[in-house]
Amino acid sequence: MGALAGVAQQTPVGHATDFTSESYFEPPHEQQVKLRLSGAEASPLPGGLLDVKKLKVETFNEAGKPEVIVRAPQCTYAPLDGVANSAGALELQTGDGRFRVAGEGFLWRQSASSLTISNRVRTMIDVPLMGANAL
């Protein structure tokens, strides 16, 4: 994953609104955004953490098509570690919206692009999953 670069009104320790951070693919697709993390508001917390409102994480393929979108109304984000977590709600969906997940409590590790949902995970899939042959 490429370097993380803040692109809009982001300050390391202050209050930020409508901020966005992006990382890029390795060459030859270094111009394409691989992951975009954004939020409506970020307020500083002790320990260099940020209280983020309306977190949104988007991943893209090398052609720029959205693959996965993650949304959370609130979370605590550690910008130096690239880790976000919350005891609250979270939603995930694929780019075409046919695979949707909701749950409570999550941990997002940006370096590994991994997301753990801790409780009450509910997924709806609008593509066939067994029992639906010939589709």
Partner: protein, 177 residues
């Protein structure tokens, strides 16, 4: 209930689970599938989801429970291609004609792919797999459910047939061939 046990000497046999027309897609088959679990991990690099703890999959034609479930996240517009259910796998489904099937196994692997315009859609059960209907039980290691052709394939199967009350002439409700 009288039971009779058949130990098949043949290496494999197939069991037609249903005689549905593959060109007709029942409305239920197009319905959304729901997965519930205690927790889940999503790897957005490999596009895989692993559901953990009390995993329950529900579809109008099928119910599945297991300990863990791995799902390859589908790309836009694509069919699910790889699903692995592990630990105490239980699947109940019906063939749309009133016949219900209860399958248990330690592991089930669903695979879907199209090669040379031919659709391959299978579920391979391993770990003491067993399929039960109201009329019979078959154990086989492994056991393959061919979704594309709606039939089971058994390897050296052991079959227990339960005769219906008052029926002493034919205890087998399904076609073996």
């Amino acid at each position: 209930m009288k039971k009779s046990v058949f130990l098949f000497l043949i290496a494999s046999s197939s069991w037609a689970a249903a005689q549905t027309n593959p060109a007709v897609v029942p409305a239920a088959a197009r319905a959304a599938t729901e997965i519930n679990s205690d927790a889940a991990d999503f790897d957005l690099n490999t596009h895989q989801a692993v559901y953990r703890g009390h995993v329950r999959v529900e579809h109008p034609e099928l119910k599945l429970t297991c300990g863990t479930l791995l799902v390859d996240l589908p790309t836009a517009g694509a069919h699910l291609s790889n699903v692995v259910a592990d630990t105490n796998v239980v699947i109940d489904f019906n063939d749309g004609k009133g016949q219900t099937y209860h399958v248990t196994a330690a592991k089930a692997v669903y695979a879907y792919k199209i090669e040379n315009a031919v659709t391959n859609e299978t579920v391979t059960f391993t770990g003491s797999p067993k399929v039960e209907t109201a009329q019979s039980t078959i154990e086989s290691e492994p056991m393959i459910w061919d979704r594309a052709h709606n039939k089971f394939t058994f390897i050296a199967p052991k079959m227990i047939s339960r005769e219906a009350p008052g029926n002493t002439t034919n205890g087998l409700p399904v076609k073996l061939f």
